[in-house]
């Protein structure tokens, strides 16, 4: 019975975990089941969602992208400076930020696949370099952008959802489709499972491994835009450690760090779990150390659940 359900909806178990968590906070925190909480969660998760999509694809291909947090800050910085100092139209500034992210991803990808350097090391380098560039671009100062960019984070009247959230949701669907229904996704899975067998099957692995990091970079760039829109400002210290949250969300969603296995929908549920947890614990007024312990335990539990499911 469970096995059958599982075939229909692989993310079922993790989804149940999310529901349990929501129910728990609903009982514990008096104002948890309110529109305010829902809006708060939906407003703050787009940046983590798009970054996690990229991270999940990279993990599935057997790699890892440690640079996403820094790239988010870099992109946000580029957008802030382009908009306030160079007074470019917002749409151009946003495009520049996303392109900056793509460039960082391209450097990662080319070094990782054509120069055959370990992706772990290359993106670790980019984690440092990207953060440094973010400080350089912003002169280490928070750049106030203002209300014009925040409209991306404000709910559209009538729908109740923000443009940022709709875009991130659209990307979840698109990426899940690309992963399960296109040759690109299939090749990523194959390369992540067994690179040698993939080569023998006629797959040119280098362009795919490059592209997946470029995509991750572009999505981190978009994450930078979303972060700036959320804050109404570009913070060069933004997204410190975001890569770890993204990896955690991906893993909670059933993605294997060994490559070859993963799901975008699952990762999105992972993002929801992390956001619900953060919000719920803040509403309960739990102290910082306890928050961290609980967050850590939930990550471990989720992975345990996934292991149990896949047996």
């Amino acid at each position: 019975m469970l096995r059958k359900l599982n075939l229909v909806f692989e993310e079922l178990f993790i989804f149940i975990a999310l529901l349990l968590l929501v129910m728990f906070f609903g009982v514990m925190a008096e104002n948890f089941f309110t529109a305010g909480t829902l809006t708060a969660i939906l407003t703050q998760l787009p940046a983590l969602t798009v970054v996690t999509i990229g991270m999940t694809l990279v993990l599935i291909s057997g790699g890892i992208d440690l640079s996403v947090g820094s790239v988010v800050a870099l992109s946000a910085g580029v957008i802030g400076i382009a908009f306030t100092v160079f007074e470019l139209p917002l749409i151009i500034a946003a495009a520049l930020g996303i392109v900056a992210g793509g460039c960082a991803g391209l450097v990662n990808g080319v070094l990782g696949s054509y120069f055959r350097l370990p992706v772990f090391i290359v993106t670790l380098g980019m984690l440092e370099a990207g953060r440094g560039l973010a400080y350089m671009v912003t002169d280490s100062q928070t750049v106030y952008i203002g209300a014009s960019i925040q409209s991306l984070s404000l709910p559209i009247s009538g729908i109740g959802l923000s443009p940022s959230f709709l875009v991130s949701l659209g990307l979840v669907v698109l990426a899940q489709y690309a992963l399960t229904r296109t040759v690109f996704g299939r090749y990523l899975i194959a390369i992540g499972t067994n690179e040698q067998a993939a080569k023998i099957s006629g797959i040119r692995t280098e362009p795919y491994l490059t592209w997946v990091l470029v995509i991750s970079g572009l999505l981190a760039g978009l994450g930078g835009l979303m972060n700036a829109a959320y804050l109404g400002a570009s913070d060069p210290n933004a997204a410190l450690g975001l890569e770890l949250s993204a990896i955690a969300a991906a893993v909670i969603g059933g993605t294997s760090l060994m490559g070859g296995r993963g799901s975008i929908v699952g990762a999105f549920i992972g993002v929801l779990i992390i956001s619900v947890l953060q919000n719920g614990l803040a509403q309960l007024g739990v102290s910082e150390p306890v928050k961290r312990v609980i967050t850590g335990l939930v990550i471990i539990l989720a992975v345990l659940l996934d292991r149990w499911r896949s047996r």
Binding site: T180, V183, Y187, A190, T193, N194, A197, I200, G202
Partner: protein
């Protein structure tokens, strides 16, 4: 006399029953053969006895006492040594460390390195690895050498406490001299009281080495008898309902035009250039001792080797294609089925269907082309039926299939990609007789449809049964080519040994 090991009513099911009421008795000091087609349940039985799997029901007795190991470690403590078919070695450790992994000689603090080297040296000499240093990293060894290391590892347990040695396909990668040495060793050990379970597809080996033999079919023991009373045809009949007899006609056949030309090809693995050509409708065999460069040649033709020089040209009705990379090869109709199925063939943990269609996707067009799951499954189902792959369906994980069926899926993968030039490296290694004949027939059928086939194999019988021509490699060099009807087994062997100097190289 109490049996060394006795099983009673063993049952085991995964998705479907794999073992049914298996009762097996092996006396102390006896060598017991275990044969059956792939998927018959041999590996499962071996895994249960060696503590890797628990049975669903039934019991085992070791020297009359109840024995139900909770883990491989518990089985080791009880005295059960195992040389597994899927080698249990660690690539990053040295040969010595691999051999003694389970029983490192200890000093007060840490490992006694001197003792490790000495004991490893002795075991390596015993199994015929005199030419290697115990410090050699395992990754540098050939498959045959690794198999000998696995054997040495199984023999590393102290003789006094070892009660049962299980050998699962111990000779699948070995040359005849290596296999003979192995057989001598186990005969000596059994004379000293050790019991042995010997699992193999090589029926002649089983009949000559073992005292008794059991035949498994579909999880049921069909036959247990003394080897002296049996012939290999008896075993084959017990294993399979069909009469499996080799057929080979000795007449040279006519081929089509030349399809593949290899000009002065060399790589780091074989510095001396090799040239060859192969026609449509022809099977070209590549013979040689283990380590002679058979696999390396196929890989180089396919465009995989480092520092590859020379030219590989594919001739077609249109313009010729120069093969310079694996993706060019695959997308122009060349198929490679590598020797090591696990690391170079299958996508482990993935469905039968993904494994079947992956190579054909390159023909769909761009990377953003859509995959239709329904269509993909239908395509896989057709191939499963065509090649008679034993599985639950296209969504089953490939790891749950037996080796022979996995091999069939690799053939299916390339059939689906519409390949017509086949590079096959040991296509029937570790495959049961039934599957082997099925694969042979499939290859003949492909040949008759105009395919160009290159087969590298360590089994001369396989090559002489299938091939139109045989190229012999000796010590990384092409030494001779024979047409059908011109060769004899002795000529082929002589050629294979011709380029080795000194007795040690010939043995390896």
């Amino acid at each position: 006399m109490t049996a060394r090991i006795a099983t009673e009513g063993l049952d085991k099911s995964f998705a479907t029953p794999v073992l049914k009421q298996v009762a097996l008795q092996i006396s102390p000091g006896s060598i017991h053969g275990l044969v059956g087609e792939n998927g018959a349940g041999k590996s499962t039985l071996v895994n249960i006895i060696s503590g890797l799997l628990p049975p669903d029901s039934g019991s085992i007795a070791l020297d009359g006492r109840s024995y139900s190991p909770a883990s491989r470690k518990a089985a080791l403590v009880a005295g059960i040594a195992l040389a597994s078919q899927e080698l249990s070695l660690i690539d990053t450790l040295s040969v010595a460390e691999n051999i003694l992994l389970a029983s490192f000689p200890q000093k007060a603090l840490g490992i006694n390195r001197h003792a490790v080297r000495q004991r490893a040296r002795a075991l390596m000499d015993l199994v015929g690895l005199e030419h290697l240093s115990p410090q050699t990293p395992l990754a540098q060894l050939s498959l045959a050498e690794k198999q000998l290391v696995e054997l040495a590892k199984a023999l590393s347990m102290p003789e006094e406490t070892t009660r049962l040695l299980i050998l699962d396909e111990p000779t699948s990668a070995l040359t005849s001299p290596q296999a003979n040495l192995l057989h001598q060793i186990i005969k000596q050990r059994s004379a000293a009281g050790l019991s042995v379970i010997y699992v193999s597809h090589r029926l002649d080996d089983v009949l000559s080495v073992c005292d008794t033999v059991s035949v498994l079919r579909d999880g049921v023991i069909q036959l247990t008898a003394a080897c002296t009373s049996l012939t290999s045809n008896d075993l084959i009949r017990a294993m399979s309902r069909e009469e499996l007899l080799r057929h080979s006609d000795d007449k040279p056949r006519a081929f089509g035009e030349v399809r593949l030309t290899v000009e002065q090809l060399s790589s780091t693995d074989f510095p001396e250039p090799i040239s060859l050509h192969c026609h449509r409708g022809e099977i070209l065999g590549i013979a040689g001792l283990s380590g002679a460069g058979r696999s390396e040649l196929l890989h180089a033709i396919y465009g995989l080797s480092a520092e590859r020089q020379g030219r590989v040209v594919l001739h077609a009705a249109g313009p010729d294609t120069v093969i310079d990379s694996a993706s060019t090869a695959a997308n122009n109709g060349i198929a490679l089925i590598a020797e090591d199925r696990k690391s170079q063939g299958i996508f482990s943990g993935k469905s039968v269907s993904l494994n079947t269609t992956i190579a054909g996707l390159g023909k769909l067009g761009g990377a953003l082309s859509t995959i239709l799951p329904k269509r993909e499954q239908r395509v896989s189902e057709e191939l499963i039926a065509q090649l008679r792959v034993k599985c639950e369906g296209p969504l089953q994980t490939i790891d749950e299939l037996s080796g022979g069926n996995q091999q069939k899926l690799l053939v299916a993968r390339w059939l689906q990609a519409k390949s017509d030039v086949w590079l096959l490296d040991e296509p029937t290694r570790g495959v049961d007789v039934g599957s082997k004949l099925a694969i042979h027939n499939q290859l003949r059928q492909l040949r008759d449809q105009g395919a160009t086939i290159l087969i590298a194999s360590s089994e001369l019988e396989e090559l002489t049964a299938l091939c139109d021509r045989i190229l012999v490699l000796s010590n990384k060099k092409a030494v001779a080519t024979y047409d059908r009807g011109q060769w004899s087994k002795e000529m082929l062997l002589e050629a294979a040994f011709s380029n080795y100097q000194g007795p040690r190289a010939a043995a390896g």
